[in-house]
Point group: C2
Chain length 342, copies 2
Amino acid sequence: MRIVVDAFGSDNCPVPDVAGAVEAAREWGDEIVLVGPEKRIRQELAKYETAGLPISVVHAPDVLTMEHHARDVRRMTESSVRVGMQLVKEGAADAFVSAGNTIAVLSSAIFDLRRIRGIRRPALAVFYPIAVGPVLLLDVGATADPRPEYVVQFAQMGAVYVEKVMGITNPRVGLLANGEEDEKGTLILRDIHRLLAEEEGLNFVGNVEPKEISRGAADLVVTDGFTGNIMLKTTETVASFIPRFLKEKLGEGPLAKAALVLLLPALVVALPGLLLLAPNLRRIAKRLDYAEYGGALLFGVNGIVIVGHGRSNAKAIKNAIRQAREAVAGEVLETIKAGLAK
Amino acid sequence: MRIVVDAFGSDNCPVPDVAGAVEAAREWGDEIVLVGPEKRIRQELAKYETAGLPISVVHAPDVLTMEHHARDVRRMTESSVRVGMQLVKEGAADAFVSAGNTIAVLSSAIFDLRRIRGIRRPALAVFYPIAVGPVLLLDVGATADPRPEYVVQFAQMGAVYVEKVMGITNPRVGLLANGEEDEKGTLILRDIHRLLAEEEGLNFVGNVEPKEISRGAADLVVTDGFTGNIMLKTTETVASFIPRFLKEKLGEGPLAKAALVLLLPALVVALPGLLLLAPNLRRIAKRLDYAEYGGALLFGVNGIVIVGHGRSNAKAIKNAIRQAREAVAGEVLETIKAGLAK
């Protein structure tokens, strides 16, 4: 298997991108192709012990940044995203991983790889982080205004992935809504509900509210790309606000510093208890760490594409590469195509 | 001022509803009219020292529960919600507060009070809890499918409220979106954006993402009732998931109990530091406690209506009554009407 990794994707590129790629090559032994300005990639690679690792570099002089728009993608043929996507298109690689500008990766995927025949619109999927078990949420930002029938296709593609890669047979499909009753939500939501209920081969469990998603009431949840994106961004905002707010407000005022000094001995006394709790603490931290989840999966184009979070660290990049290899190994693309052909 | 309070609204009614009403009457001295099954209200009232307090009871034999639908509201004329709304309609009271079924309160408000002349659709507004300062978010569930011009009216009504009640002159109006760029979001979002930008008398600051809302980038944020409701429910889900998840996972396994016993001495040692931090801890707890915010304000009908959270405790009911009295004192309804007449 050969996976192309955009070395100039993440906000702190190329450091985490190259580090994650090296770790992935070390752990799984898949061929990794780093794409981007070659000289800078080689400088970064030189920091690691890479002798014998199946890592190669393909030169792409340009980089698409957050400042670039969809319209810039077409002309920037020498950018790391476009060059990486071409490698997948030509069959020189099996998957593409980038933590770069989502709009740019999306535009390039549609432009270079083209949509799968029969699929009307692509969808981006993530594992929803605030849930007791794995719940795939899609679309989180590829198609803001889908027609109801497009959302049915999102459900079909997501179901293939959950079944093939997560090993969940006959996965439960939920529709994101603001109430369980069929009468809730927008007019288009009711149309989507009706189509999902009619669709044979889908285990549709009906409307699901955010709290039900977090309780694991479905294995995958479909929505339009606008609502899904707002839900994901709200989740990130709330999850990061509370600790930040605590830190800020706890340290306010003249007594706060004295209080923190007084708390230090308590920390020492607490150590034996904390050590016993360490395995649980580690499990919790792992469960709530978005880097564990890798990136978003792009469904609906002729290739496996993973879009990482801009704030990805090396672990997040490595896990995005893991998602790519699992999708390739699970023959997700072939299964989606075969399912559509039926 | 006379405020009608639905004694049979909240999930644990009539306990918190009556307790909150008694506390409000005690603190502010406004006349409170409790509405619902009279005998049960009097039984509940008997638990408190209410001699001399301006509390009266109006009998309504029926109660609209979560099981009732919008279509049930019309025929249940003797329900606490319908009877309370009628008191406002007849001018026998200035505002209505209920922590009951939102759909039922909404339907009754539109049916009994009617929409303000010129206002096309009502909107429910809340103060978004995960923000550094007060940010009014609307609509969070009254109008799922607004036309763009309705959302402009939401902004106008919200701006009056923020200006009159919060004392923020020329409040900054944001539009909930998944990116700052005008090109982001749905087609209807772009239409709303254009109309808001054109509207004179609105201090429109453009698209705002969830993280910007939490940073206080706007004083009020408008959206459609579906997206607003999903955002609010996602916020509640994430904010309640993390502590619940910690508690559950920390206590798992055979060593957890021993660890918790070992942690007790640390708590004792930490006491002096915690005491010094107490004012900060109290402020933080207050800031993150939804009960501090009261309920949702219903804009667009001929009367002041506050819809409390179903899980309201006495403090939340009391704060919903505070919101009602502030809206009455601020002449919010009259100002909205005068603004529309211009």
